[in-house]
Amino acid sequence: MERIPILKMGPFLLVTIQIDLYDRLALTLENDLINMVSQTGARGVLIDISAVSIVDSFMGRILGNIASMSRIMDAETVVVGMQPAVAITLVELGLTLQGVHTALNVEKGMELLNTKLIGNLEQDEEEEEDQNDRND
């Protein structure tokens, strides 16, 4: 069965979704990713969706689930590289991906995760703040 590869980069996990997902594949990804987080004790998850042309409510829910599940295991999730057309469609659909951090590209996402990590170390429990503080 097809699987999406998950790469480990230091304390973070990187997933690049290159194909249009059908539902079962997305569910497998959710499963694999969460297992990986718990196995490696990763502190952050980067999901690169720059090659994804369609994000519907199911896919949005999977992204939200991954974020919430990782957070319970003390890892932050950043979705990077969303296409403008996808962003507009999601807003129109009424899905704003609450609780998921976003960044323009992998590099900026990594930066964001690093700042989050430092912040987390400084004040042990960081309450889920509005994502606005990413630029501070």
Binding site: P84, I88, E92, T96, T102, L104, N105
Partner: protein, 290 residues
């Protein structure tokens, strides 16, 4: 006795001649837009098609297949004329002067048989009236296309995205924000964010005359989409009366960063990207320190 179609067919040349005469004698004819040769060619094609259709015995239903060619030609002519800037009168005269010519010829040919003449004129009347309706429908459609294209062009021009600083974009919105425009604003803004890799976008609404709940919703959508892309959006240029209406309408903008002026929004953007603007004592210029 000859049928109407035969009579008309026999006198085709005369009809065409008369028709051309009618058209050319019209003082409003724009010979700058079309040569009379071209007009002649167009008219002949049209008349040929019409007579062929009538000869099949169809006098009234112009939506039948026999008339397909006639209506097609007619549509072609009126749509070209609409685009070329002919007036409705000129376009309408085209068909109506044909009616005149046909009737004149019939009157000449049927001097001895008034009852047949009467019937024939009635039939032709209905037929050509229907054709002129087609002409107008198409003419107006052609004009509407022009309007639509212009609307697109206007919305295209009216949403410039300006790069005010490295990583900071500004987008001044001028005029009313409806859903079609929001769509274009969003598309341009998000595309520009991708192109420049900017983290912050400032949406300046000083040029928006009024903000009602619908406009506010469009703004919120734009901000949400920007956030989904991974950038932050600041709304600036909120005038006193706009602030009042927003509160009176009970619109919640608390999740969105808002500033009164573009200057203060830029300041906020600087502090968000850890930039500092300082006055340099020596030359009084602006110096940016990282």
């Amino acid at each position: 006795m000859n049928t109407t179609a035969q009579v008309l067919e026999k006198n085709k040349e005369r009809i065409l001649e008369k028709w051309m005469q009618n058209q050319l004698s019209d003082a409003s004819l724009r010979d700058d837009l079309m040569t009379s040769d071209e007009l002649q060619r167009q008219s002949k094609e049209m008349l040929d098609g019409l007579l062929r259709a009538v000869s099949k015995g169809n006098h009234d239903n112009i939506y039948d297949t026999e008339f397909e060619q006639v209506t097609d030609t007619l549509r072609d002519i009126s749509i070209t004329r609409a685009r070329q800037g002919f007036s409705p009168r000129e376009t309408g005269t085209y068909v109506l002067s044909l009616k005149q010519a046909l009737i004149e010829v019939l009157v000449e040919q049927r001097q001895d048989d008034t009852s047949t003449l009467y019937m024939e004129i009635m039939q032709l009347n209905t037929l050509l009236d229907n054709l002129s309706i087609v002409t107008f429908e198409t003419f107006i459609k052609g004009r509407e296309e022009v309007i639509l294209r212009q609307t697109d062009e206007i919305s295209e021009i009216s949403t410039p995205v300006i790069r005010v600083w490295d990583g900071i974009l500004a987008l001044p919105i001028i005029g009313t924000l409806d859903s079609a425009r929001t769509q274009i604003v969003m598309e341009n803004l998000l595309q520009e964010i991708v192109n420049t890799g900017s983290n912050i976008a400032i949406l300046d609404i000083s040029g928006v005359p009024a903000v009602d709940s619908l406009v506010a919703q469009h703004l919120i959508k734009t901000v949400s989409a920007t956030r989904l892309m991974g950038a932050e959006c600041i709304i600036s240029g909120i005038r006193a009366e706009i602030a009042q209406t927003i509160v009176h309408l009970g619109i919640d903008l608390s999740n969105i960063k808002t500033k009164a002026s573009l200057a203060s929004a830029l300041q906020l953007a600087f502090s968000m990207t850890n930039l500092e603007v300082r006055r340099n004592d020596k030359n009084k210029g602006l110096n940016i320190m990282r």
